[in-house]
Symmetry: D2
Subunit: 349 residues, 4 copies
């Protein structure tokens, strides 16, 4: 069977027709996967997306997707607070699951969802799209190929061009569970080890964000269990655009990446040597990564032996780091990840 027919045989339902749901639907269409139905609370939004990509069925009720026996897999692109429940439903109906990050903002809830998936024997992949970016994949490859020797230190720079609305920030779970969670996953992905300790220094440059109880500028230090040191720098406001860089120092050298640009053109005049700004935000920067991410999900759906390259466990560990960072900031002290393994600590948060 050729690739086109193979992909076409996979029947998928999409939960959520917002920005990320739209991106995934477009990519699935290009991959030739059969998008059977789209569910969204807004009739209009779902219908518009369905029309754009020729999806036959639209519903406001996710059950229409869960209970459709012809659907093999679902993409959970709904708001975070619905993720866990939809994972349970999908697992109950034996559908493979692609779930946007984070699974939930509560570790116990995440654990229950991951357990339900395992018990049902379906596969789940969590949407840490950056693992599929060409730059970060090449960095991971440099490590695996021993191009820089043993890792000593990893730096992640992650800055957004501008902050989301304060209304969003209030329900986001805080910068560490909302934004840094991607960087926590990246750190684990690149180092290939778990973190032992986290320390945060943070600040709200924007008083409105501070008033909402969050910060917009942070340095997060990580000590990995294998002794590697890591540090993540986050900012919600980089005037020049989306800034996504990694640099790793190893015993034999270093590997790093720069941002991606819309062109390679340089303009020289009597004042400066200049180039255009980098790709402005995540949709531009990571479109290729989103494609490869869904191609990987299609593969695990169609190939019984294929394992999810980003698992529920990965989602859990990144969340735990987000919670530890939040605690470190609150208490201005280094926090050990094992604090979250005792019932007391989990309860306390």
């Amino acid at each position: 069977m050729d690739m086109a027919s193979r992909n076409q045989s996979l029947r998928v339902g999409v939960l959520g027709a917002g920005r990320i749901g739209r991106i995934h639907t477009q990519i699935l269409t290009r991959l030739g996967v059969t998008v059977v139905a789209i569910a969204d609370p807004s009739d209009e939004r779902g219908a518009s997306l369905a029309r754009e990509f020729g999806v036959a069925k639209v519903t406001t009720n996710p059950d229409d997707i869960f209970q459709d026996p012809t659907i093999h897999a679902v993409l959970i692109c709904s708001p975070t607070d619905q993720h866990a429940q939809q994972i349970h439903q999908a697992a109950a109906h034996k559908k493979h699951i692609f779930c946007e990050k984070p699974i939930a903002l509560d570790l116990a809830v995440v654990d229950a969802a991951v357990h339900a998936v395992e018990a049902a024997g379906v596969k789940m992949m969590v949407g840490f799209n950056r693992r599929f970016d060409a730059n970060f994949k090449r960095i991971r490859q440099a490590i695996l190929q021993d191009e820089i020797g043993t890792i000593g230190m990893v730096r992640i720079t992650s800055r957004d061009p501008s902050a989301p609305p304060v209304s969003y920030i209030k329900v986001s779970g805080g910068i560490f569970c909302d934004m840094t969670i991607h960087d926590f996953d990246m750190a684990r992905f690149l180092v290939g080890a778990e973190v032992d300790q986290v320390f945060v220094m943070a600040q709200a440059r924007d008083p409105e964000i501070g008033a909402a109880g969050d910060v917009d500028t942070a340095v997060i230090c990580l000590r990995f269990e294998n002794g590697v040191l890591g540090y993540i720098e986050n900012s919600r406001v980089a005037a020049y655009g989306y800034d996504q860089r990694v640099e790793i120092l190893g015993s034999k050298g270093a590997v790093s990446c720069e941002n991606n640009y819309p062109n390679t053109v340089t303009i020289s005049n009597g004042t400066s040597i200049a180039r255009d700004l980098p790709l402005h935000f995540f949709i531009d920067r990571y479109m290729e990564a989103y494609k490869d991410e869904l191609a990987a999900f299609v593969e695990i759906c169609l190939n019984k032996d294929a394992i999810a390259p980003v698992s529920g466990h990965d989602g859990r560990q990144a969340l735990k780091l987000g919670l530890a960072a939040t605690l470190s900031m609150k208490e201005n002290r280094p926090v050990r990840l094992c604090e979250f393994d005792t019932p007391r600590m989990v309860g306390r948060l």
Copy 2:
């Protein structure tokens, strides 16, 4: 009507299922255009391409396409020596035409084809895909926006990673009509003027290419009618890959572009600071340009008022430059383009 339905309404036939025919078919499919049929002398090759992209009809006879009244436009992706005749046939059947470069290797033949298209009242676009590349578009924009003042000099560097087979070189029309023709079009596109004079210094580094009567290394100087100087550097062999750069000096500054790379990663070790090679060849480098090129063709097919961004005249002028360069090399002298406007000279070639 939304974009998807609009594109779907355009019915296209593809002539030639080789490498470039495959690329165009893939892109048309992604654009949602209806590819009605594929014609290729090889039954097998046509069928394979049709299967890959779900094209219903395959034929070894191009007439099946020309005579299909439901087809609005054709893509001529056949060998060069069939282009002109297929243009005549398509024009006769009132189909819009996308023709790969060059239209032909004989100016009179090109002129007749262009005339037939005009007489038939159909539209024709020639496949100078590089005009749609993000780097070169940005350079053109810098000129139009007066970011570098009045142009004084333009440099085009154009190197292939490796030479095509000698069998191909023998029928290619020579490097200037086969490879440099793209650079001639780029020079005209960027400068926005016609060339008055051409001079060539060239060399066959590879003795097999020399034995085939061609060269693989060349510097081509251009004097434009408006006084701008241009120079193109070609090589058939660049060990590090496809090299496509432009640099323009103006009265207020300069604009230039670098090659495109698969990633932005740098690896530093005890020996060097290094990055991976640039995108290896034209399919990688210009895939986005091909998409934008066909989107432009779709637009002129569907929008009565839209004008082809690359016309038959553009194809003619680039060919004339190729012929002038060939003559300059043979006679080791600067050649004026007006030499090709007299019957004597055209006859002589």
Copy 3:
């Protein structure tokens, strides 16, 4: 009076004929300053340096310099444990003082030395040479000229190509007072504010350095009194050479610098696009900075109204940061700088 005669009129004595003493003597000679005498415990080393740069007098006794009434200024290039005493002697003899960093490893000792200088009415400049580097000066200028708006975050990357001998490390005062002290001064110089809080995560990758009670890899977080966040990354081993970079994020943009290289040459072959390694270590990288540093010292010696661009206070503050970082590492907690203002804490260290 022209510049040459003016500089010649300044009579200087150099204390210490080691590596840095040699650099400073060479620069003073080029600046046309009169180097009257060199003192070094090793007769041979002092004599060799004097011969190389035509210095008339060599001695093993620093008093020969302090008591020479024709000498206006001294350069203290001796081992750290002699700095403070030599400052006291120079001040007592009314000589201006250039002192290599650190003044001492004990805050009280530093305070006493700074006080003696002030009481004597002579000038003192501390050898934080990096403030005179073209890259860092340009970054400071970008801040002062409001090219990036209000500073939010500063990052300093500072890596040595290889660790000094363990024998040196044992008497160095530890990485934070020996190596990071330069970065602490740079942070204060760039941000133009004092630090409130320090936190360190560190590691000894090299077991010998660990056995010597020190670390070779560290991330140091700073919270400035004005809310700016800073972080410094140190490593004693960067296989590709000396790595000295700064990046600052402001409300209107960012400013950063790259390393300096011996040439701008790129070599492209079938494997990679590569350049030579950066300037290997501090003498190569900062030679121009050393020149500008001493030119500034000459200026404050000759111009009554000129103020030292790097003061004893600057030396004190950088040391305090080194001590705070050391304490943070030991106790694995954020340390406030004000802890060092109480008699108890100073005594405790």
Copy 4:
């Protein structure tokens, strides 16, 4: 004998106290060479330079230098039309000669001067300073170390920030003998072979330069005797500053260099990613090269066996290329260098 005493033993006279005479005097002083006397038609200019660098003797009569038996070598930094005669005089008095380019604008005159030097058994070095630039030396090294295989093509970009006064242009001998002559020498230096054929396309963008009978914008094609192709691009006006780049394509890869910059700082804001302009003109860009150049001259003066790294023959060949380029432009045809070997052709020019 140590290096300082060795250099001091060399006694030099400088002819010409203009811009380049000043640079060389400064460098000789730093090298510790004894500058005995300066000759300049302007008493004031000579005296000022002598005062600045402590040179004891000033004269308006060059004979005072030629006839001083204690002087071993002369630096000819006078106007071009005095070079040849001063070479004859210096040779007659058995002094080694450093002569700024060009030796003369007439081949026969150059030949006679070179012959006089050889007959006198003194050494002569011609001031093609760029051979000593770190970038170009590294490129030459890449070729010699076979890092790019057999050379196929060489490109030289050479642009000045602004044109000299028209008064200078009128007596300069034309752009090819005045400006391009450096690039011709660079081409010969890098390729290590002689040129067989030259072709020029040129233009005067500035009408005043055109009225003075010269051009300011040119492309010069070179065919070397070994088949290598070269092209040089010159402009008298690059708004962003001095532009000096080389790129060479070989069978195994390519080597190229970028301009030099005063710092490595990048500023990113809401508009662009920018850096400061490159070093503005030749004194900034080539100061290090001038130093190495004179160090090489000092070496050949002091070491009987050392050979001049840039010979009178090199000066002659570069001039011949300048004359051939001038002829090519006038007659709009490729010119063979052998045309200049016959009495007829030399007479004709």
